[in-house]
Each structure stands twice: as structure tokens, then as C-alpha cells.
């Protein structure tokens, strides 16, 4: 029971953390771009004001979101030791290193320069203020790189040897250049950009629709925001798909069971088709299916008639290699999370492409259907991020470190009562935070938030230039 509850707790806290992180990564970069535009147009009153307003509007959403990303990240740093102490002892030498480096290199950068960015206006020059948001953006990406390096090692261990009862690092460079890492880092990075552009697009569309209904001219801040989002978003979704596809090929080589489980393909096939929808029992007897011929072979092997291994064959291979046991993940979870992720991606691609087409024809701000759909589409990247992570982590089961350590062996020997306490505690805390965050985000997205935040005023002007305005 300790195992099950610990897994639920890890899943809940990690998925929750990852609701906020991609938005932080994506928005930081977009804000850096917007503020750069504001800085470069500073001699040009009207254009400067537009970019400056944009920066200040999206900044509020960014900061609300950032706060939750930070505090839920603290839990991640300690949770391995709390609930997965056997795992921690086993992998500490390899897995701990990128985690420590992440904190030293990325967290200090992010937190210090975010402080400068929020509170430093008027105390540092405009150039330094601009540089600080760029540094925050670099910090968020570095953070993603190191934590994904740690995760990539769990998916595909490299640069180590097993000594006694633990894995010992032999090559840090190999850990940081893991083939699994390159695909997953770029996939996550671009999906983070997609996440932030979908939010910007959805919120801007809501405002543009309101203007349209009221018969006003579209607000330039939101029209421009939507256009930036459409351009960046389209590039990012294509890149996300490209690197996702790249990951699928890596996965077929490194974790064939995960690929087979994504597809619920039971027996090795040449020229395997990709199933869009399967209704059936999970002992391998489909009742109803829609399939794209040869697509899976193309996805996994880049070859029309490429061979895709089946679950039964891989199960037999892994038994031969690792001893008796069940090496299959929960198939309905992998099958559906994979499909939902890909499906959301395709919907976003279609929507962004349609928006781009409308934008080129200068009809985007007036297109009622498009503006009406976009706010709902904000949910898509979050669903895709969540299902993507659930797929990649649950698809690795029963392993916690593929081929080395099983999840069932990794858990701490602590009382079930303790784990239930923290499972309930974290879930309750996170639910409260989610409700508050959603409420605040919605308020500020609608432009209704009242705030003391004082980012756009000069110093308090009391004559003493050492007395700055209060920000919080």
C-alpha cells in the first residue's frame, strides 16, 4: 500500500507541478521578446506604449503562475528522499548530480533575476532590467535541461556502472548528452512555447471578441499579442511534433515496450498501421478500430514496411533478460494518454494554421468563430502536457530506471499511515492552490484584477530617491 500511495502522491504532485512549469518557460521567453520590442521602440511613442502595455499585461499572469511553479518545485527536490529512499540511495550518484547542478545554476539565476525584474524597475537601468528577464528565461530553460537530463537517465541509463547495490556515474558528459535527453528537451521546450502561446491567443481572442461584440475597434495590445502568439505558436507546434516524432524513434530503439504499449500492438508486425481509435478488450481483441495503414512503421522506424515489435514478443525478451515478471505497463493508460496527447497536438496545429491564414487575410480580429474557439483551446496544451508526461512515465513501468531498478523496489520503507497523511495533505493543498490560481488567472486575464503592484510608476517621488515604491 505504501507503494501505491507513494506512486499516487508522486503522480499528483508532479503532474500538478508540470501544469505550471511549461507556462513559466514559455511566457518568460515571450515576455523577454515583448520587453525587447518595447525597449527597441522606446523612441517611438505609440509603438513603444503598445509593447510596454503588452509586457505589463502578460507579466501579471506570468508572476501568478511562476509562484505556484516555484513552491511546488520545492516539494520535488525532497520527495525522492521522502518516498523513494531506496531509489535515492541507488541512483544518487548519477541522478542527484543534475538535480544539484540545476539548483545551483538555474534556480539561483531564476530567483535572483526575477527579483531584479519585479522590484528593480527604476533601480537598475532599462538595459539591465531587460537583461534580467532574458536571464530568467535562460534560467527556466537550464532548469528544464537538467531535470530532463535526470529523467532521461531514468528512461535510458547511460554513463554509469553498477557497483554493488547502486549505480555509479562514470561519465557526466554522457549523462548530459544522452540521446533521449536531446529529443525530450526540445520536445518539452517547444511544447512550453506552445502552452504559453495558446494561453496568450485564447485570452487575446476573448478580449477581441468582446471588442467586436461591443462594436469597438480591436485593442492593439490584444491584436498584436494574438499575432505574436500565432506566429510563434505555429512554429513551436511544428517543432514539438518534429521532436516528438524523433523521440518516438528513439523510444522504439531504447524502450520498445513503451512504443508497443502506446499502440497496444500485441504482436510484431511489418508495415504496422497506426490506430486512431480502438474499442475493445485489452487482451488484444479489438471490437472496433480506425487505423492509418503503415503509419506506425513510418513513425517508429521511418520506413513504410518497418518492423514494429509487439508486446508479447518484448515481454518474452524481457523475461529472458531480467527474469520472470510482468514487464507490461498498464495498456489502457499508455494507449489513451498517447492518443490524447497527439490528438490535442493536431487540434492545436489546425487551429494555429487557421489563425495564421486568417491573419494573412487580415480577418483574424473579425472572425467570430475563431475568436470564440480560442479561449476554449487554452485547455489543449495543458491536457497534452499532462497526458504526455503520464504516458512517458507510466509507459516506463514496471521500471523506475529502465532495465535497472523496478518501481516496486524503489519505495521508502515507511508506514502507510504517513504516506496517506501526506498524500491527502498535498492533494488538499494543491487543490486549494489550483482553485485560487485559476480564479486569479481568470480575473487578471479578463483585465479585472485590482492590484497594488506598482511596476509602471516612477519612484514614489518623496524627494528621497532611496525610498522606492512598494511593489507587493
Amino acid at each position: 500500500m505504501t507503494l501505491d500511495f507513494s506512486r499516487w502522491q508522486f503522480g499528483i504532485t508532479t503532474v500538478f507541478h508540470f501544469m505550471f512549469v511549461p507556462l513559466t518557460i514559455g511566457l518568460a521567453l515571450l515576455l523577454a521578446i515583448m520587453q525587447t520590442a518595447a525597449y527597441r521602440t522606446r523612441g517611438d511613442g505609440e509603438r513603444h506604449e503598445k509593447w510596454d502595455l503588452m509586457t505589463r499585461f502578460w507579466r501579471r499572469l506570468f508572476l501568478i503562475n511562476f509562484a505556484i511553479g516555484v513552491v511546488t518545485g520545492i516539494v520535488q527536490e525532497f520527495q525522492f528522499g521522502m518516498n523513494w529512499s531506496v531509489y535515492s540511495r541507488y541512483v544518487g550518484s548519477v541522478f542527484g548530480a543534475p538535480l544539484a547542478v540545476e539548483a545551483l545554476l538555474a534556480f539561483f539565476l531564476e530567483s535572483t533575476f526575477l527579483g531584479i525584474w519585479i522590484f528593480g524597475k527604476g533601480r537598475v537601468s532599462a538595459r539591465v532590467h531587460l537583461a534580467s528577464i532574458w536571464i530568467v528565461s535562460v534560467g527556466t530553460m537550464l532548469s528544464a535541461l537538467f531535470i530532463l537530463a535526470a529523467n532521461a537517465w531514468m528512461q535510458h541509463p547511460v554513463g554509469y556502472k553498477v557497483v554493488g547495490n547502486r549505480a555509479v556515474m562514470t561519465n557526466f558528459w554522457a549523462v548530459m548528452t544522452n540521446s533521449t535527453l536531446i529529443g525530450s528537451f526540445l520536445h518539452v521546450l517547444f511544447s512550453a512555447l506552445v502552452t504559453s502561446t495558446m494561453l496568450i491567443l485564447g485570452v487575446s481572442a476573448w478580449h477581441l471578441l468582446k471588442d467586436r461584440r461591443a462594436g469597438h475597434a480591436p485593442q492593439q495590445v490584444f491584436a498584436t499579442s494574438a499575432k505574436v502568439a500565432l506566429v510563434v505558436g505555429t512554429v513551436a507546434i511544428v517543432a514539438t511534433m518534429f521532436f516528438g516524432d524523433n523521440q518516438a524513434r528513439t523510444m522504439e530503439r531504447q524502450q520498445p515496450m513503451k512504443m508497443a504499449a502506446a499502440e497496444a500492438i500485441y504482436n510484431t508486425q511489418n508495415g504496422a498501421s497506426f490506430s486512431l481509435l480502438t474499442i475493445g478488450d485489452l487482451s488484444g481483441n479489438p471490437i472496433f478500430q480506425i487505423r492509418l495503414p503503415h503509419m506506425l512503421s513510418v513513425l517508429a522506424d521511418n520506413n513504410w514496411d518497418g518492423s514494429v515489435q509487439g508486446i508479447n514478443q518484448i515481454q518474452a525478451q524481457e523475461v529472458a533478460k531480467y527474469g520472470p515478471g510482468n514487464y507490461k505497463p498498464i495498456l489502457w493508460v499508455t494507449y489513451w494518454t498517447f492518443r490524447i496527447m497527439v490528438g490535442c497536438g493536431i487540434l492545436m496545429l489546425l487551429l494555429l494554421a487557421a489563425g495564421l491564414w486568417l491573419m494573412r487575410r487580415r480577418r483574424m480580429e473579425q472572425s467570430a468563430w475563431f475568436l470564440r474557439v480560442c479561449p476554449f483551446a487554452i485547455a489543449l496544451p495543458f491536457i497534452a502536457n499532462t497526458t504526455g508526461w503520464i504516458f512517458t512515465e507510466m509507459g516506463r513501468q514496471p521500471w523506475v530506471v529502465y532495465g535497472l531498478l523496478k518501481t516496486s523496489q524503489a519505495v521508502s520503507h515507511i508506514g502507510t499511515g504517513y504516506v496517506v497523511t501526506t498524500l491527502v495533505g498535498f492533494t488538499a493543498i494543491y487543490s486549494v492552490l489550483a482553485a485560487i490560481d485559476f480564479g486569479l488567472m481568470a480575473r487578471f486575464a479578463r483585465g479585472e484584477g485590482e492590484t497594488d503592484e506598482h511596476d509602471d510608476q516612477p519612484e514614489s517621488g518623496s524627494g528621497d530617491d532611496r525610498v522606492p515604491a512598494l511593489v507587493y
Binding site: 527536490e77 545551483l104 528593480g120 497594488d452 514614489s460 525610498v467
Partner: protein
């Protein structure tokens, strides 16, 4: 540090000792830096009279608290990488206290960002409570945790923690908790007196003067008890007792410095006191990292808890390159925010420079239990 390096014995590699020292430094940094922002959080419930006071206090730590907290994350990550067995036993053993600390840090962290987002009285009072308790609980529990690490907890073979939550609640560790709580409160009150003006400054200084003797009493009692324990277990880490005496002296002198209005030096003294406290704890531990109350054979040491030599080497290189850089820019950010903060002029009183404050309905803030419980 010199003492530790001097006593390196051949059983431990230089890297193991180096990382033990690094982790001690990280905790010292954490205690000194987050120590004062915990203290300011606690002062929210002690010296603030209204919403504006609380805002001024929050803004004194606003730009830096998150960077201060990263010292904890780096300490956690460094322990994981350098001493996996220490990381695993400590955090799975101290499971529930750590959960409480994490919960407190979660609410406290979002509170700083969220409280200003609505002008509603009840909203702010709720987040003020989150900051107050979110500062007080970790300030207490870190002391409890370190006292337990030093006192010894039931650790059996294979580094397994065999105790329960209640093993962690004992008079010695509770005294340790009260000690850190008082030290951080004092440290924060002195900080607040340095970063504010007028009435708020006066109240912060008064709170610090009130806290100084209490903190001195606590640190004397805690270190005396620690010394007795150490003597009992024939640990030589406290001999010569230079560092613990320096700890006590630094804290004892704070009251006098405050009376002489040398608040800047008082802050230096509380900071030195906290560094010496962490040094005392780590000197007393060395070469152990966790003490087993069952048998010395089960102690976790820098040898049996350590990571692979290669990992320690890589980490050492990374740390030597990047730590100076981090210290440089974090120091610079403190320089940027070095000024004092005052209550801003009310809206409209300064033509051309509208006050930044949207006053909160006073009725709501006057009802704040935090204000009523003020000890000043």
C-alpha cells in the same frame, strides 16, 4: 572549517570532507539568509499595525526571499548527489516534519505573490496568516531537525530509520527548535529595523531588544545541553569549544549593540551567531552526518553515506566554477535593494506622483488577529 580540514583522517577522502564542508556552508547561508526573511515574516504578526506596515515589511524581503530559499534547494540537491544515503535516511526518516516544512513553505511562497493581487481585507488577512505561520513553522522545525540529527535517532542496519514521528519530539530537540525560532525572529527584527523608517523601524528595534535576551538564554541552554551530550558520547568535535563560545558571544552582544543603536553591527552579530551555530552542529557531527541512537556502528558518516568519487569530483568542478558567480550576482542584487523602505505618501498628496497604494478597507485590516496578537 580549518578545524575540520585539520582533523581529516585517512579514512575519508578530500572530496568527502570538501562536500561535508560545502553542505555546512549551504546550511549556514540558508540560516543567515532565509533566517532573516523568516524573521520578517514572523514580525508581520508582531510589529505591523496595519496593512501598509505589513506591505512595507513584505517588500523589504520581496526581491530576495526566493533567492534565499534556493540555498535550501541547493543544500538538498547537493546532499542527494554527494551523500545519497544521508539524503535518503534524513528525509524518509523525518518524513512528517519535512512535510510540515514543505506545506509551510508552499503557502508562504504563494502568499508573497498573491496577497497584493486583491484589495479584499479577508483575502489579505488570510495570506498574512500564511506568511506568519509559514515563517514560524519552518523556523521552529529546522531547529528540531538539526537537534535530532545531532542527538541521534533510531537508525539501524543499512541506514534504515527505525523510529516514528514521536522519536523526533524530545526536550532537547524542542529546545533546539525554540532556539532557531528565537534566533531567526531576532535576526529578522534587526533586519526590519535596518530596512524600514519611522514608527515601524522603532517597533522593530523594540521587538529586537525584547528578543535579544530570550535568544541568548536559549542559545546558552541549547549549546550547554549539546556540550553535555557530546561529552557523554566522547565526541571531540566541541573541543576546543571555541566555535560554540563564539556563537554565544555573538548573540549575547546583540542586546548591547541594539541599545547603542548599532543595528548594522547587531545584524552582523546575529549572522555570525547563526553561522557559528551551524558550524558548531557540523563540527560536533563530523565525521558523522547522522547519529544513530542504537549503536555507533550504525552512524551515517561522510564515508559510508558518500556518493562515488567520480560524482564528487564532477560536482566539485561545477561548484568551484559557479558558486563564486552565484555569490557575485546574489550579492549584487542585495546591493541594488540596499535602501530603506517607508510607508508611501497616500494617493493624491503628492501632485504628479500618485501614491502607489490603494488603501485597504481599514475595518478589515483592524480586525486582523495578527495585529491584535502583536507583542510590541
Amino acid at each position: 572549517m580549518a578545524l575540520i580540514l585539520a582533523s581529516v583522517n585517512s579514512a575519508h577522502t578530500g572530496f568527502e570532507v570538501f562536500w561535508f564542508v560545502i553542505i555546512a556552508i549551504l546550511w549556514s547561508g540558508y540560516f543567515v539568509l532565509e533566517g532573516f526573511d523568516f524573521g520578517v515574516g514572523i514580525m508581520l504578526g508582531v510589529v505591523a499595525r496595519d496593512d501598509l506596515d505589513r506591505r512595507v515589511l513584505i517588500n523589504t524581503i520581496g526581491p530576495v526571499w526566493d533567492g534565499n530559499e534556493v540555498w535550501l534547494l541547493v543544500a538538498g540537491g547537493a546532499t542527494f548527489a554527494a551523500f545519497p544515503n544521508w539524503y535518503a535516511t534524513l528525509f524518509s526518516g523525518f518524513y512528517l516534519p519535512l512535510f510540515l516544512i514543505l506545506a509551510a513553505l508552499i503557502f508562504r511562497g504563494v502568499a508573497f505573490e498573491f496577497r497584493s493581487k486583491r484589495a479584499l481585507g479577508a483575502w489579505r488577512v488570510a495570506w498574512d496568516h500564511a506568511i506568519f505561520w509559514g515563517s514560524l513553522i519552518p523556523a521552529l522545525l529546522w531547529g528540531v531537525a538539526f537537534a535530532n540529527i545531532l542527538r541521534g535517532v533510531p537508525i539501524g542496519a543499512n541506514f534504515a530509520y527505525l523510529g516514528s514521528f514521536f522519536n523526533l519530539l524530545n526536550p532537547y530537540s524542542l529546545l533546539g527548535g525554540v532556539t532557531t525560532l528565537l534566533l531567526f525572529s531576532l535576526h529578522g527584527a534587526v533586519f526590519a529595523s535596518l530596512k524600514t523608517t519611522d514608527d515601524l523601524q522603532a517597533r522593530a528595534a523594540r521587538a529586537a531588544k525584547f528578543l535579544a535576551p530570550a535568544a541568548t538564554l536559549a542559545i546558552v541552554a541549547f549549546l550547554a545541553w549539546t556540550y553535555v551530550n557530546a561529552h557523554h558520547t566522547h565526541n571531540t568535535g566541541l573541543v576546543p569549544p571555541l566555535v560554540p563560545i563564539l556563537t554565544i558571544a555573538s548573540i549575547a552582544v546583540v542586546g548591547w549593540l541594539l541599545r547603542e543603536r548599532l543595528n548594522g553591527w547587531a545584524f552582523v552579530a546575529t549572522a555570525v551567531g547563526l553561522i557559528c551555530l551551524v558550524a558548531t552542529i557540523f563540527l560536533n557531527l563530523y565525521p558523522r552526518v547522522m547519529v544513530s541512537s542504537i549503536s555507533p556502528a550504525y552512524d551515517l558518516t561522510i564515508g559510508n553515506a558518500a556518493s562515488a568519487p567520480y560524482t564528487l569530483k564532477v560536482m566539485t568542478i561545477v561548484a568551484l566554477i559557479f558558486t563564486p558567480l552565484v555569490l557575485l550576482y546574489q550579492g549584487w542584487s542585495y546591493w541594488v535593494f540596499r535602501g530603506r523602505l517607508s510607508r508611501p505618501a497616500q494617493r493624491g498628496t503628492e501632485p504628479g506622483a500618485p501614491g502607489p497604494v490603494e488603501p485597504v478597507p481599514t475595518a478589515a485590516s483592524d480586525n486582523s488577529p495578527l495585529t491584535e496578537s502583536g507583542a510590541s
